[in-house]
């Protein structure tokens, strides 16, 4: 093997974009073998395994960090457009280098730690927050055969690791020794546990239908087209649509984004658990929030939007991994759109919405999915399952939202 051969392979790889990332990884491994032969040793297999793992990890972290950087500009741009302004447009073309400027600013800011704070925990909290967020994307299938680890309990692992951010938020709030911080942290945890149930339930429904807990298996179960053109994505079934909407809003609540941003509601709690954070520690929280948001929306794409499958048969010439990121970008846009549109919830509304509407609806979606399956997964099943989700929807809407809750029976004895 010589170096010219390796170079010659690059244009060949680029000809088939579908397998570009996988072939690129192979090329790097061959390059390492070539380096070994240059020194005159046969590269042992464990080094190749290690290089393989490092390439995967670096690729995942790099992609998600680039997405985070782009998103931080994109979000401000879209918000600005929604509010009839320009948004950041000074640093670089279209303000694209804004994240670089922000990063430098964050690095050079003074790191202020309050004198009453628990210094060690105050330092650990942002790290504990970032670690689960960075680990999460490793489970997602990005394209055909492009999954870092295909765990048999993949989806569950996702939720289990996600529970780490609850602990991190509590650490941040508690170590700051600030009333706003601890209030924000308690609110955040109450909100996250309330919305975790619909989140897990809607994923369980998909797993029941697909017959596996592995993300790749779920994406494969959504392959193929009904009548030759209609994709078999779960979002296009009545139960799947309901579960998808439940998952979407639960994911919003889990990542503490507007309209579920009560824990950080600046008009009442300054910045919640982030109040006493400054400098790069704050940036780490920010990063963790965004990477976690991408990861959980990537799971939404995997579970309901067909993962890396193309929406129409004639669009399959676009590589599968592009489809994954196109769908993710669409979801990211919708998140900003929701943020620009919706006002913040009040805490009692938020809790009631989770327990009295989302949780019963997720049970209804489960029953509906069962009906869909046992009626033969055809048009008949489609109709029955639509009826089965429509009845609880209207019944719950009647019970939850038509009664007038008077505001004056709220007591403010304790902090909440």
């Amino acid at each position: 093997m010589n170096f010219i051969d390796l170079l010659k392979r690059i244009p060949e790889i680029c000809k088939t974009p579908e397998t570009l990332p996988l072939e690129g990884k192979k090329l790097i491994l061959d390059f390492v073998t070539w380096l070994g032969s240059l020194v005159g040793i046969a590269v042992p297999p464990w080094v190749l395994t290690l290089v393989n793992i490092l390439v995967v990890i670096v690729a995942i972290i790099a992609v998600f960090l680039i997405m985070f950087a782009l998103m931080s500009v994109w979000e401000r741009k879209i918000l600005a457009r929604a509010q009839n302004r320009y948004g950041p447009n000074r640093v670089g073309p279209w303000g694209l280098f804004q994240p670089v400027a922000d990063g430098i600013k964050m690095l050079t800011k003074e790191d202020i730690v309050p004198r009453n704070a628990d210094k060690v925990v105050h330092f650990i909290a942002p790290i504990v927050m970032l670690v689960p967020a960075l680990i999460l994307p490793v489970l997602l299938p990005y394209g055909r055969g492009m999954v870092a680890i295909d765990l048999s309990v993949g989806i569950l692992f996702f939720f289990a690791v996600g529970a780490g951010s609850e602990v991190a938020i509590f650490l941040a709030g508690w170590s700051s020794r600030n009333k706003y911080s601890i209030l924000g942290a308690m609110r955040a945890i109450a909100q996250m546990i309330s919305y975790e149930l619909p989140l897990v339930m809607s994923a369980v429904i998909v797993a029941l239908v697909a017959g596996t807990l592995s993300p790749t298996g779920i994406v494969e179960a959504q392959g193929g087209y009904q009548f030759g053109f209609f994709p078999n994505w779960f979002v296009f079934t009545p139960w799947g649509f309901v579960a998808c909407v439940l998952f979407y809003f639960s994911a919003l609540a889990e990542s503490n984004r507007s309209p579920f941003d009560l824990p950080e509601g600046e008009s009442e709690l300054v910045a919640g658990h982030l109040t006493e954070y400054s400098g790069f520690k704050y940036a780490l929280f920010f990063m963790a929030e965004y990477v976690g948001m991408f990861a959980i929306n990537g799971l939404l794409v995997t579970l309901f939007l067909g993962g890396y499958q193309a929406p129409l048969p004639f669009l399959t010439f676009i590589p599968s991994w592009c489809w994954f990121f196109i769908k993710l970008a669409f979801l990211a846009f919708s998140l900003v759109w929701v943020r620009a549109t919706m006002p913040r919830f009040r805490i009692d509304q938020m809790m009631q919405f989770a327990w009295k509407f989302m949780l019963p609806m997720s049970f209804a979606a489960l029953f509906s999915a069962a009906a869909w399956h046992y009626a033969g997964r055809g048009l008949l099943g489609w109709g029955i399952s639509a009826v089965l989700v429509a009845i609880p929807y209207f019944a719950l809407g009647y019970f939850c939202f038509t009664r007038h809750h008077s505001a004056d029976n709220r007591r403010y004895l304790f902090s909440e």
């Binding site: 765990l151 048999s152 939720f159 289990a160 529970a163 509590f170 975790e196 807990l213």
Partner: protein, 166 residues
């Protein structure tokens, strides 16, 4: 699982388990408990019991932990930190622990099956799938009994709350 990883995770689990009871600060001990659970989950992963490991994190590090945190925030933390160590009770506790450990070691030494290596289990299905199959085939009634038990638990929550809020 390689023995090195086993020892690391075991040490992590036991060390933070000890920290859980030794810490005077309830929040710190609750958080040590989380790390201890994580070590336990890692041991389960090492045994290829993915499902149990994930459940360990999901239920204990997620739900039970949150419960602890909320209880701690309802309590007066100062009282716990001020409490003095009772020397006779401490010595008694240590004596009991030593006696118990000695007994455990003796029993395990003399128990024949405890010394024999197990044959490797080679499941052809994911472990979660196997658990589901077992629940259906052999333990259907206990499964329903658990359902009733959980219902009773939620009724208990309601009763508890009604008393507390009055």
């Amino acid at each position: 699982m390689s023995p090195i990883l086993f020892w690391i995770f075991s040490a992590l689990m036991l060390g933070f388990g000890a920290a859980t009871i030794l810490n005077r600060n309830p929040v710190a001990s609750a958080l040590s408990l989380v790390v201890s659970f994580l070590g336990l989950a890692a041991l389960f992963f090492g045994l290829d019991a993915n499902f149990i490991g994930v459940i360990q994190i999901l239920v204990y590090a997620g739900a039970v932990m949150v419960l602890f945190i909320f209880i701690i925030m309802l309590l007066d933390l100062k009282a716990e930190q001020r409490r003095q160590i009772n020397i006779p009770a401490l010595l008694g506790g240590v004596a009991i622990v030593v006696a118990f450990t000695a007994q455990l070691v003796t029993v395990i030494r003399s128990y024949k099956a405890g010394n024999e290596p197990f044959a490797a289990i080679t499941p052809n299905l994911p472990d979660a799938h196997n658990i589901g199959m077992t629940l259906f085939a052999n333990y259907n009634l206990p499964f329903q009994v658990i359902g009733v038990l959980i219902l009773v638990a939620s009724i208990g929550v309601v009763v508890l709350s009604q008393r507390e809020l009055k």
